[in-house]
C-alpha cells in the first residue's frame, strides 16, 4: 500500500511507450525523493496492465497503474478526476508531470482542484537545505531564472520541460507494482474519438542539437538539406520565405513568429538574415552560414561564413560526411 507522502511522477503514455519526458523525470526524481527522505512513486493510466510493468524498470519504489480499456487516450475530464482521486488518497508531497501538452493541461487543473501550487515548466529542480523542493524556471526569454517553492500546500505540483534531464537506462524491474481498476464510463469523456490521424511531422526543433536551416537561396531544394541534416544527426528548419513558398512544413519555421531554437550548431543556408529570423537562432552555440551574396547580413550573425553556391557546397559536405 502506498502510505501518505512520497514523490510522485505521473508517467504519460504516448502510443505504446512512455513519453521520454516522463522517464527523464523519473530519473531525476529518484535523487529528489532520496534528498527529501521520501518514497518515489510512478503513477500511470493505461488501457492494459502489461504497460505498467515497463515502468517498474526505472528506479521507483512503487508503480501505481490505473488500468481501464477506455484509458487508451487522454481526456481532460476523465484524467483529472482519476488523478485527483489518487492524489487525495495517497497525499504525496510532490507531484511531477511532464510539460507536454497533456501534462500541462492536467497539471493546471489538478492544482486548482487540490488548491495547491504549480511550478510550471521547470528546467531544473533541487532540494534546499530547508528540505524544500525548489523548481527553477527561466523567465522572459531566458533573461532571468526564478527559483519557485510551494511552502505550505501539498502536493507541490511541478511540470518539467522535456529534454532537460538525461533519459535513464532501464534496469531490472524492481518496483512494487500496484494495479488499480477504476470505474471509467464512456459517457464521462468530454469528447469522442471518431478517427485518429497522426500528424506527419511532429519534430520538436527545440530539442535538436544540430539544425540545417534553409532560406530563399535554397530554391526549394530541401532534399539536399535533409541529406545534410541526416548526416549530421540533426533536423531541418526553414525561414519564413521557405515555408511561405510551401517548400517545407510550416512547423519548421524558425524565428520570431516560428520556433526559437538553441541548437549546438546551426547551419544556415541561403537565408539573408533578417532579425525576425536570427532571433530564432540567437542562442545557437555555433552558426555556420552559406550564402552566395558576400554582403548578406546573415554573415554578421555567423561564427563561420562560406560565400558560394549552395548546391555544390552542400553536396560536398554530404560527400565528406559520408566518408567520415
Amino acid at each position: 500500500m502506498t502510505g501518505p507522502g512520497g514523490v510522485w511522477v505521473y508517467a504519460e503514455r504516448r502510443g505504446t511507450a512512455f513519453r521520454p519526458v516522463s522517464l527523464e523525470i523519473l530519473g531525476r526524481a529518484r535523487g529528489v525523493a532520496d534528498a527529501l527522505g521520501e518514497r518515489l512513486v510512478a503513477l500511470t493510466a493505461v488501457p492494459a496492465e502489461g504497460a505498467v510493468q515497463d515502468l517498474a524498470r526505472f528506479g521507483a519504489d512503487e508503480v501505481v497503474g490505473l488500468v481501464h480499456p477506455l484509458l487508451d487516450r487522454y481526456d481532460t475530464r476523465v484524467y483529472t478526476d482519476l488523478l485527483e482521486r489518487e492524489v487525495r488518497s495517497g497525499a504525496p508531497s510532490v507531484l511531477f508531470l511532464g510539460a507536454s501538452r497533456d501534462g500541462q493541461d492536467l497539471a493546471g487543473r489538478l492544482a486548482v482542484r487540490l488548491r495547491t501550487g504549480l511550478t510550471a515548466h521547470v528546467t531544473s529542480v533541487e532540494v534546499d537545505p530547508g528540505h524544500r523542493l525548489v523548481g527553477w524556471v527561466p523567465g522572459f526569454g531566458g533573461g532571468i531564472e526564478a527559483g519557485i517553492v510551494c511552502p505550505d500546500r501539498r502536493p507541490a505540483i511541478v511540470t518539467v520541460r522535456p529534454g532537460v534531464f538525461p533519459l535513464p537506462v532501464a534496469g531490472a524491474a524492481r518496483s512494487y507494482v500496484r494495479l488499480v481498476r477504476p470505474t471509467v464510463e464512456a459517457g464521462s469523456f468530454g469528447s469522442r474519438r471518431v478517427e485518429f490521424e497522426p500528424k506527419g511531422d511532429t519534430t520538436d526543433l527545440t530539442r535538436s542539437d544540430v539544425l540545417v536551416i534553409g532560406g530563399r537561396g535554397t530554391d526549394g531544394e530541401f532534399g539536399r538539406l535533409q541529406q545534410l541534416a541526416h548526416r549530421l544527426g540533426g533536423e531541418v528548419g526553414a525561414t519564413r520565405v521557405a515555408t511561405d513558398a510551401g517548400w517545407i512544413d510550416r512547423d519548421r519555421m524558425i524565428g520570431q513568429t516560428g520556433v526559437v531554437t538553441h541548437p549546438k550548431v546551426a547551419v544556415v543556408l541561403g537565408a539573408s538574415g533578417a532579425v525576425q529570423f536570427t532571433v530564432g537562432i540567437e542562442k545557437a552555440g555555433f552558426v555556420i552560414a552559406v550564402n552566395r551574396d558576400p554582403d548578406a547580413p546573415i554573415f554578421d550573425a555567423a561564427d563561420l561564413g562560406i560565400v558560394g553556391d549552395l548546391a555544390p557546397i552542400v553536396d560536398r559536405l554530404v560527400k565528406a560526411l559520408e566518408g567520415a
Binding site: G141, G143, D244, T257, A274, T278, D293
Partner: protein, 387 residues
C-alpha cells in the same frame, strides 16, 4: 440581409460618443473613400468604412464589442486619411478600436509576448539590452559618437540596433554625420524603444511611459535635436517627446548637410533607382522630397513608380505587422516589388528599416533581381564613406 448566423448588433450612443471624444469618427459620413483606396481592401481583408461605423455598435447578446474584421491587419499606412473628404484621421480610429480590444481582452494571439518584450527588454525583438550597441562595431572616431557636449542625439531605434541588415544603415548614417562634422551622441545600451509598436497596437499607456523615460534621458543630456534612422521612431518621438526637442529623420538632416555643402559627393555614383516612400515618412509627415534629393545628389537617375508620394503602396510592415504573420496571398511587399521592377531600375531605395525587411523578403527581390537599398547607404557610397 444578414444571414441566419449573423449576430444581432445594437447601436450604442454612449460608446459612439466615447469614440467621438478620442477621434473624429463622428465626422465620417460613410462615403467609403477610405475603403476604396485601402491597399488591404482588395481581397476583402479590411473594410475601413465598416470598421469606423462598427465602432458605435455593441454585440446584442453579449453586450460587448462586435467582431471587427481586419482591425489588427491594418498597417496604419494612412492611405485612408489621404482620400477622406471629411478629414478624419482614420488611423487614430484604428488605434482607438485596438485600445478598446485590449480593454475587452479581445486581441489576437502573439501580441502579449511582444508587449512583455517591450516591458522587460525595452525592444520588441526580445534581444538583450546589453547588445543594443552591437551595431557600432567597426565605427571609430567621431562616427562612434561623442561622449560630451553634443546636443544632437542619433536615436538608432530597435530595428537598426538589432537587425543585421538595418545595422548597416545605422552605420552609414553615423559615418555620414561624422564626415559632415556634425557632433552627435548615442544613447548606447540605455536607449529605449520609442514605443511606436505599442502605440500602433493601441497600448497608449506603454507608449507614454517609454516616451517619458526617453524625454527624461534627453533632458539630462541637454539634447536639443534627435535624429532617427526609422520613420517609425521619427513618428513616435514626434508624438511622444517634449516640444523643445527637435525630431528629424536622417534624410532631412542629410539633405540639409548636402545642400549646405557640408557633405560632398565624390565617391561612387549611383545608377538608376526607384524610390519607395515609407508611410511614416511620407503620408504621415509629408517628407517626400529630401530622400529624393539625396538620391539625385548621389548621382542616381530617379525613376518613379506609378504610385508614389501620397499614393505610395505600403510595404505591409506597419501597425504592428512586423511581428505578426500575414497571409501569403496578396502580401503588399510582393505587389510593391512588382511595381518597382516595372520601372526597369535595378534597385529599389527606401528610407525605413521595416520597408527594407519587407521588400528583402518579398517574392522577386534580392541580388541580381532587384537590389533593396536604404537611401543612407546610397549617399554613403556617393560621399565615399563605407556604408
Amino acid at each position: 440581409m444578414p444571414g441566419p448566423e449573423a449576430k444581432p448588433l445594437r447601436w450604442d450612443d454612449g460608446q459612439w460618443e466615447e469614440l467621438g471624444r478620442s477621434t473624429d469618427a463622428p465626422l465620417c459620413y460613410q462615403c467609403g473613400s477610405c475603403t476604396a483606396t485601402c491597399p488591404l481592401a482588395e481581397g476583402g481583408k479590411l473594410n475601413v468604412r465598416k470598421l469606423v461605423r462598427l465602432g458605435g455598435f455593441v454585440d446584442g447578446p453579449k453586450g460587448s464589442g462586435p467582431e471587427l474584421p481586419g482591425l489588427w491587419s491594418c498597417t496604419t499606412c494612412a492611405q485612408c486619411n489621404v482620400g477622406c473628404p471629411r478629414g478624419v484621421d482614420v488611423v487614430e480610429v484604428i488605434r482607438y478600436l485596438r485600445a478598446r480590444g485590449w480593454r475587452r481582452n479581445d486581441v489576437p494571439p502573439g501580441l502579449r509576448p511582444l508587449l512583455w518584450a517591450e516591458f522587460q527588454d525595452g525592444n520588441p525583438y526580445r534581444m538583450p539590452p546589453s547588445q543594443r550597441s552591437a551595431w557600432t562595431r567597426g565605427l571609430s572616431g567621431a562616427a562612434a559618437g561623442s561622449t560630451d557636449g553634443a546636443t544632437t542625439v542619433l536615436y538608432v531605434g530597435c530595428t537598426a540596433s538589432y537587425d543585421p541588415r538595418a545595422q548597416r544603415t545605422a552605420r552609414a548614417v553615423a559615418r555620414l554625420l561624422a564626415a559632415a562634422g556634425v557632433p552627435f551622441r548615442l544613447l548606447g545600451n540605455d536607449e529605449l524603444c520609442c514605443g511606436e509598436t505599442p502605440r500602433a497596437l493601441g497600448v497608449d499607456g506603454m507608449f507614454r511611459e517609454l516616451s517619458a523615460r526617453t524625454t527624461e534621458q534627453l533632458r539630462q543630456l541637454g539634447t536639443t535635436r534627435v535624429v532617427t534612422i526609422s520613420p517609425h521612431c521619427f513618428d513616435a518621438l514626434h508624438a511622444g517627446l517634449s516640444r523643445d526637442v527637435e525630431v528629424l529623420h536622417y534624410s532631412q538632416l542629410l539633405d540639409e548637410l548636402l545642400s549646405s555643402g557640408k557633405l560632398k559627393v565624390g565617391g561612387e555614383r549611383a545608377g538608376a533607382v526607384t524610390y519607395h516612400d515609407p508611410c511614416y515618412l511620407g503620408r504621415h509627415h509629408g517628407v517626400y522630397e529630401p530622400p529624393r534629393r539625396l538620391l539625385e545628389s548621389a548621382g542616381a537617375k530617379l525613376v518613379e513608380m506609378p504610385r508614389s508620394r501620397r499614393w505610395a503602396l505600403c510595404c505591409g510592415g506597419g501597425g504592428g505587422n512586423m511581428w505578426r504573420e500575414s497571409e501569403t496571398e496578396g502580401r503588399l511587399a510582393d505587389a510593391r516589388v512588382v511595381e518597382a521592377k516595372g520601372t526597369g531600375a535595378p534597385a529599389l531605395a527606401t528610407a525605413c528599416p521595416f520597408c527594407v525587411t519587407c521588400f528583402q523578403g518579398a517574392e522577386g527581390a534580392g541580388r541580381g533581381r532587384l537590389e533593396i537599398v536604404d537611401v543612407a547607404e546610397v549617399v554613403a557610397r556617393a560621399v565615399g564613406v563605407p556604408g
